[in-house]
């Protein structure tokens, strides 16, 4: 880890930017990507200027870990009484002298937020302000994000091809009993994991917790809390996890509720395209970005519940249990590592609970069963399972769903309750959660996305439109030459998928055994 530190002096506007200039020189020397450097410089300069205008002194500290620049700007100043107001564009308390120089337009903090991927602002009136921001260098440098968190264990594969046929985006090939993923097509749903009987496909191992600061707050999906049968309800699971050393255990239910309410409010706006699609399931969002870019405007511009939880807890040691590979992907691809947030495998959490449930039962009184969860809001249609989801999205794209205001689409059966990473029957676990949720969970708020949803180039055959059309014609032609059995013997899920593989150079036509046999007979 590399660290650069600079002292800042308040009051001297002529000196504002000196620290940023020195930092820029260092970051250029180590060859930081120019696009990332630009964002870092903008954030640093705005923050440094704020310290000079408002505080008596401060420090600018930049750290580089695994290529991710993090800036920490702390000052001794008056502090900010109303953080929400301070983050509003146009709001400023800068003195007239600063305004005459073009500062004090109320755009500093919004600018910093716009150019960074993590933004934590803390302030104490009368003491000072601390701002911590990070820029995801690696993602920007490579121009691509980690697309999936599917882990492949080839030694466990028996070549049954169930995953090949289960994948809704034709993203899997199995050659020589070795599954492989076409990353540009994979939407990180759990269809292949659910189909795999041997565990050859699973969730990529999360990184170990990166902080020694314990105890942490733990956030888990409600589905996890109702995995332990009728005898062990969510409140007992929470107690067991507290026994394991977590300072606090929260479910994502309050963030789910906040998202649902906010999406419902959006749907009330007459200009909003209907139905409004909730971004509750990131795998479905991936599917929309890949296959239904025309529906991007229907997506409500909010973070998913787990992302929102991470965002709102990013200033304290926190751990998150993820229900599927996709949740892990969204938490690891857009956020710098090394933050005080860890992703914990559900298996590990399950072991922690099971090893302590008996202890809790013996040493402490049975906790109350928890109160029933509030019913879903009216006007929200929930759709479960990726195939149903795709069918509904096709209908929305055709404009034949005018009677639905809000759609909550989940890739898994019964939502996260049906994730292959859960062990309890989905419908039972869901019903148990509905009857006995957690007591007294603090309310949460929805978090608006700072990066808009955007189309993914997954289905494009070529960047050049003319070449793409030509390739499409060749695929159609080749598909017509193939037997149309969609048997999977060629290790592609269908004849059209093999044709695409051949045209795009991923496979040879000779992989089709029927075509080869036909030629031999002729």
């Amino acid at each position: 880890m590399t660290t650069y530190s600079y002292a800042l002096t308040g009051g001297d506007l002529d000196s504002a930017g000196r620290a940023t200039s020195a930092l820029k020189a260092q970051l250029k020397k180590i060859g930081l990507d120019p696009g990332v450097l630009r964002r870092v410089v903008i954030a640093a300069y705005e923050a440094e200027t704020n310290v000079v205008i408002h505080a008596t002194r401060g420090t600018l500290r930049a750290t580089l870990e695994s290529g991710y620049p993090t800036l920490e700007i702390a000052d001794e100043g008056p502090g900010i009484p109303d953080l929400d107001r301070a983050l509003q564009e146009g709001f400023s308390t800068a003195p007239e002298a600063a305004r005459q120089l073009g500062f004090g337009a109320g755009m500093g903090l919004p600018n910093i937020r716009k150019h960074t991927d993590r933004f934590v602002l803390q302030s104490t009136v009368g003491q000072g302000t601390r701002l911590t921001v990070s820029v995801c260098a690696t993602a920007a440098q490579t121009g691509e994000r980690l697309r999936n968190s599917i882990r492949i264990a080839p030694e466990r594969c028996k070549g049954c091809l169930r995953c090949v046929h289960a994948c809704p985006t034709s993203a899997i090939r199995v050659r020589d009993k070795t599954p492989s993923l076409l990353a540009h097509l994979c939407v990180d749903c759990t269809a292949c994991l659910a189909a795999c009987p041997t565990g050859a496909l699973g969730t990529a191992c999360p990184p170990a917790p990166t902080t020694d600061e314990t105890p942490m707050v733990l956030v888990v999906p409600p589905a996890f809390l109702s995995q332990f049968g009728a005898e062990v309800g969510p409140n007992r699971v929470v107690r067991a996890l507290l026994d394991a050393g977590y300072a606090e255990v929260r479910s994502t239910a309050p963030w789910e509720h906040a998202l649902r309410v906010a999406v419902g409010e959006l749907a009330g706006q007459p200009t909003r395209p209907k139905p409004v699609l909730s971004p509750v399931c990131p795998a479905v969002v991936n599917r929309i970005e890949t296959r239904f870019p025309s529906l991007l405007g229907h997506l409500a511009p909010f973070l998913s519940p787990l992302e929102a939880a991470r965002f709102q807890l990013s200033d304290r040691p926190a751990a998150l249990g993820v229900a599927c590979p996709c949740q892990r992907t969204v938490l690891t691809s857009n956020w710098p590592p090394g933050l005080a947030t860890a992703i914990i495998p559900l298996d590990e959490l399950r072991e922690q609970v099971l090893s302590r449930v008996g202890l809790s039962r013996a040493n402490s009184p049975e906790p109350p069963p928890g109160r029933a969860v509030a019913p879903d809001l009216a006007g929200v249609l929930k759709v479960f399972g990726v195939r149903d989801v795709v069918q509904v999205l096709e209908r929305v794209e055709d404009g034949t769903v005018p009677d639905v205001e809000v759609l909550e689409l989940y890739a898994c059966d019964q939502g996260c309750f049906g994730s292959p990473l859960m062990v309890e029957t989905a419908s039972l676990a869901r019903e148990r959660w509905r009857r006995h949720g957690l007591d007294d969970e603090p309310p949460s708020t929805v978090v608006r996305r700072e990066t808009p949803f955007s189309a993914r180039p997954g289905l494009r055959l070529d960047l050049d439109m003319g070449s793409a059309i030509e390739k499409l014609a060749r695929i159609d032609s080749l598909t017509g030459e193939l037997p149309g059995r969609d048997c999977g013997a060629c290790e592609a899920p269908s004849c059209s998928a093999l044709a695409e593989d051949v045209v795009l150079g991923r496979a040879a036509l000779a992989r089709c055994p029927h075509l080869a046999a036909g030629k031999e007979q002729a």
């Binding site: 506007l13 002529d14 504002a16 930017g17 000196r18 940023t20 200039s21 820029k24 630009r38 410089v41 903008i42 300069y45 705005e46 200027t49 120089l101 073009g102 500062f103 337009a105 755009m107 500093g108 600018n111 716009k114």
Partner: protein, 118 residues
């Protein structure tokens, strides 16, 4: 478009001794707010502004802008020009106010051929 050609066509006055040769301009952006200028600054963006504080030079250095065009009837302070020379920042001056200057520079860029304008 080369900055030298743009200066010639627009009639803006070159204030500094540091030479604009070899600098390319693809777009012009004007504002009287530092944050806006910071957001829009780039290696090929000519910034226009009625501001005249020394922080303009810092911004130019941080964002590698090719030049800054000061606008308005008031002559730029000589100490700013001296500091710009010292910092190696090219400063121009247009007596027209901000919007008019931006329109003029943008028009020159569009007619210049070969340059991409926003």
């Amino acid at each position: 478009m080369e900055l030298t050609a743009l200066i010639e066509r627009s009639g803006a006055r070159l204030l500094t001794r540091c030479r604009p040769e070899g600098l390319d301009v693809l777009r012009v952006y004007g504002s009287d707010k530092m944050s806006v200028l910071l957001n829009e600054a780039s290696q090929t963006t000519l910034l226009a502004t009625p501001l005249s504080g020394p922080q303009l030079l810092r911004l130019a250095e941080l964002m590698d802008v090719p030049a800054i065009c000061l606008t308005g009837a008031t002559p730029p302070p000589p100490e700013l020009v001296t500091a710009a020379d010292k910092a190696g920042t090219v400063l121009l001056h247009s007596t027209a106010e901000l919007a008019r200057t931006c329109n003029l520079l943008d028009e020159c860029l569009r007619k210049g051929g070969g340059a991409e304008t926003p």
